[in-house]
């Protein structure tokens, strides 16, 4: 994100007048946070008539290609991606001015007269060479430590919203986009809860400032204006747009808590709902058609009965925001994230990646409500496929312990397999499977084991996607698999592509699978 900070200096110069003769190239990664940041930036550019080009990039190769293609006449280039800002090594530790090369050249010259001098030169040169070698080793060590664990830093949409606010160009719409970006980081477990709470605390005053409405008749606002409100949301996936029962069966926490894939689990869930006084028939119909009294009491009922069923309040409730515009459209931040990720990873053959990117940008443009509804339907389909896959993993005992980690492969041939060829869905499947397996397994050790998941990616090229995630009990969310994958691939000469921005996801030739995994096992012992 330091490339973004650079831009604040160049495009928006000290006197706050934008330089319109510059053209900005914005490269956006395929993540919702990056897309929200891109939309905020787009709005700011449009306000100030700055010329810009947006190019979506799926991986590092894409990034290079796009940069080379579009960099004519471009003054500033921005990369929208979350990155780890901590532990960046010092500049002088990594980059060295090339003065020492000149001395090396001098050493080759043979001068008998200054033979004495040459020996002294030799000594000085030797000392310099030793220092350089020591410095090189130190540099290698620092870089290894830096790349050993991959993590995520500040949300880019929050950063850009801050910038917009400082330029007094912030609106409710930009605030809503920043909220979505921040929530996406937490939902996809890129940041810990503390960091998420910090960001929420930062956004809360903005929300009150921009959505403060005096309650008198005189200044009532149009119903079409966006209203953002803070709420302690129930962490049930899209429950307002689905039925309560379906939502309970597709949310990670409740599914694992009740073990919905077993008959006993389902019975327990029915018991839970009956205990709360919610008739099963009502729970199975669309949430919006439930009786008003039940709808309003859902949250309180959950709170009341959480102790009896040992539900952790922190996991069931999430302080978040929801937006309302028009009479029908009421979405909480997590709904928008699921819908937009579903559209971003649409597996329809007729849509290319950039088409999906543009559709998702449309969805984030809140005036297009039909895009949002379509996205929600797609999210439901993808989530059902995910839960079914988890169920088949557990039923067929496909999660195997390989010593230092657990692993599983998505069986080819099932029709849903195409959903898991996309990185975000794959990551979600991995987390869900690990969580579910830890609930089912009697072995206490599994909660400390990381998990590696492989899924079929491209049948023409015979490749598969492999992702590694940290163990359930590891709260620091530091992922060591990036480096581990690299080293395993290097030692076995497996044909891998470390193209994704997330280093813990790689593409691997299916034939090299077994030797790659053997190397990985021995590496992580």
């Amino acid at each position: 994100m330091w490339s973004c900070k650079l831009s604040t200096g160049t495009v928006y110069a000290a006197d706050k007048e934008p330089r319109t003769e510059h053209r900005v190239l914005v490269l956006v990664a395929f993540e919702i946070d990056a897309l929200c940041a891109c939309k905020i930036l787009q709005y700011l550019f449009q306000c100030d008539h700055v010329l810009y080009t947006i190019v979506p990039v799926t991986g590092k190769q894409d990034l290079e290609r796009a940069f080379v293609e579009h960099s004519e006449g471009v003054q500033v280039c921005l990369l929208m991606k979350e990155d780890d800002l901590e532990n960046i090594p010092e500049f002088r530790d990594v980059f060295l001015e090339d003065e020492s090369d000149e001395d090396d050249l001098d050493n080759d010259s043979d001068d008998p007269e200054t033979g004495q001098k040459k020996r002294r030169f030799d000594e000085a040169a030797l000392i310099k060479r030793m220092e350089k070698r020591k410095w090189e080793e130190n540099r290698k060590k620092i870089l290894f430590e830096y790349t050993e664990f991959s993590g995520y830093g500040l949300s880019s949409s929050l950063l850009l919203y801050d910038m917009a606010w400082k330029m007094s160009k912030d609106t409710n719409d930009l605030l809503w986009l920043a909220i979505i970006g921040v929530t996406e980081q937490y939902i996809n477990q890129h940041v810990e809860r503390d960091k998420y709470m910090e960001s929420i605390a930062e956004l809360q005053p903005h929300v009150s400032r921009l959505n403060h409405r005096p309650d008198d008749e005189e200044s009532s606002i149009s119903i079409d204006c966006l209203k953002v409100m803070f709420d302690n949301e129930l962490r049930l996936t899209m429950y307002r747009h689905w039925s309560l029962f379906e939502s309970l069966c597709h949310s990670e926490y409740t599914t694992c808590k009740f073990k919905i894939w077993t008959m006993k689990g389902r019975k327990r869930l029915h018991e839970f709902l009956a205990d709360m006084g919610l008739p099963l028939v009502q729970c199975k119909q669309k949430f919006t058609s439930m009786d008003v009294s039940y709808k309003e009491s859902v949250k309180d009922l959950f709170k009341k009965f959480q102790d009896k069923y040992s539900i952790n309040e922190q996991d069931l409730f999430l302080p978040s925001f929801h937006a309302q515009y028009g009479y029908k459209n009421r979405y909480c931040a997590t709904d928008v994230i699921y819908a937009s990720e579903a559209v971003l990873q649409d597996v329809e053959k007729e849509y290319s990646d950039s088409d999906n990117f543009l559709h998702t940008l449309d969805l984030l443009n809140r005036s297009k409500t039909e895009c949002m509804e379509k996205g929600i339907e797609m999210a439901k389909i993808q989530l059902s496929a995910l839960v079914k896959q988890v169920q088949s993993f557990l039923d067929a005992n496909l999660v195997i312990s390989a010593g230092p980690f657990l692993y599983a492969f998505v069986q080819e041939g099932t029709p849903d397999v195409k959903f898991f060829a996309k990185p975000i869905n794959l990551a979600r499947l991995a987390r869900f499977t690990l969580e579910a397996y830890c609930c089912v397994s009697r072995n206490k050790k599994v909660k400390t084991l990381p998990f590696v998941l492989g899924a079929h990616h491209n049948s023409d090229m015979g490749t598969m996607l492999v992702i590694g995630i940290p163990p359930v009990l590891d709260k620091s969310l530091k992922n060591c698999f990036g480096k581990a994958f690299e080293q395993a691939a290097a030692t076995t000469n497996s044909r891998t592509l470390h193209d994704f921005f997330d280093s813990h996801i790689i593409e691997l030739k299916s034939e090299d699978r077994s030797k790659f995994f053997d190397a990985l096992i021995s590496l992580l012992q």
Partner: protein
């Protein structure tokens, strides 16, 4: 004329804004605008106001007639009168549309205003339709309507002119046929 053309013409109307930036007077072909000072109200053409609002550079102040009580009175007047009454602004429909689309947060009680303006529009169009009906049936050669706005006029113009053309043609055919008959007798 296209409705978009009528909207374009209506954008020349003057409206009050409060800018948040400063700029000297600008000399445009259509007239001079400015100078802009942050926090000080001034009048600008509607197209400038909408553009500035979209770029977050100003706050639009609703015109005087865009008030719930005034519009309710007007609606009452329109309902009671047999003829068209004078509208508070010749371009009331277009201005309402543009302002409520781009600056609903600056207009107090935007929803009621939208409903009232739509009601007034419906009343007037209904009156127009019935008067056209009477005009055609009573076979007169001309009619006079006062206080009709450009937008209302242009909603009926294409249909009315074509319809009258057809009627004329049919009449001509009828009279030609009658002439033939009489000549044959």
């Amino acid at each position: 004329m296209d409705p978009s053309e009528v909207e374009f013409i209506s954008e020349k109307e003057s409206i009050s804004i409060v800018p948040n930036f400063s700029l000297d007077k600008i000399y445009l072909i259509g007239g001079d605008v400015g100078p802009f000072n942050p926090g000080l109200q001034l009048d600008v053409p509607l197209w400038i106001a909408v553009n500035l609002k979209q770029r977050q550079k100003c706050r639009i102040i609703a015109p005087d007639w865009m008030d719930v009580e005034i519009l309710e009175e007007k609606k009452q007047e329109e309902q009671e009168s047999k003829f068209f009454t004078k509208m508070p602004c010749d371009y009331y429909m277009e201005i309402t549309q543009l302002l409520l689309q781009h600056a609903p947060d600056n207009i107090p009680k935007a929803d009621e205003i939208r409903m009232l303006v739509k009601d007034i529009w419906d009343l007037r169009i209904a009156k127009l339709r019935s008067s056209i009906d009477i005009f055609v049936k009573s076979d007169v050669t001309h009619a006079m309507l006062n206080y009709l706005t450009l937008m209302e006029l242009n909603t009926v113009r294409p249909f009315l002119t074509k319809a009258l053309d057809h009627i004329q043609q049919l009449r001509n055919n009828v009279s030609y046929g009658a002439a033939l008959w009489s000549s044959q007798d």
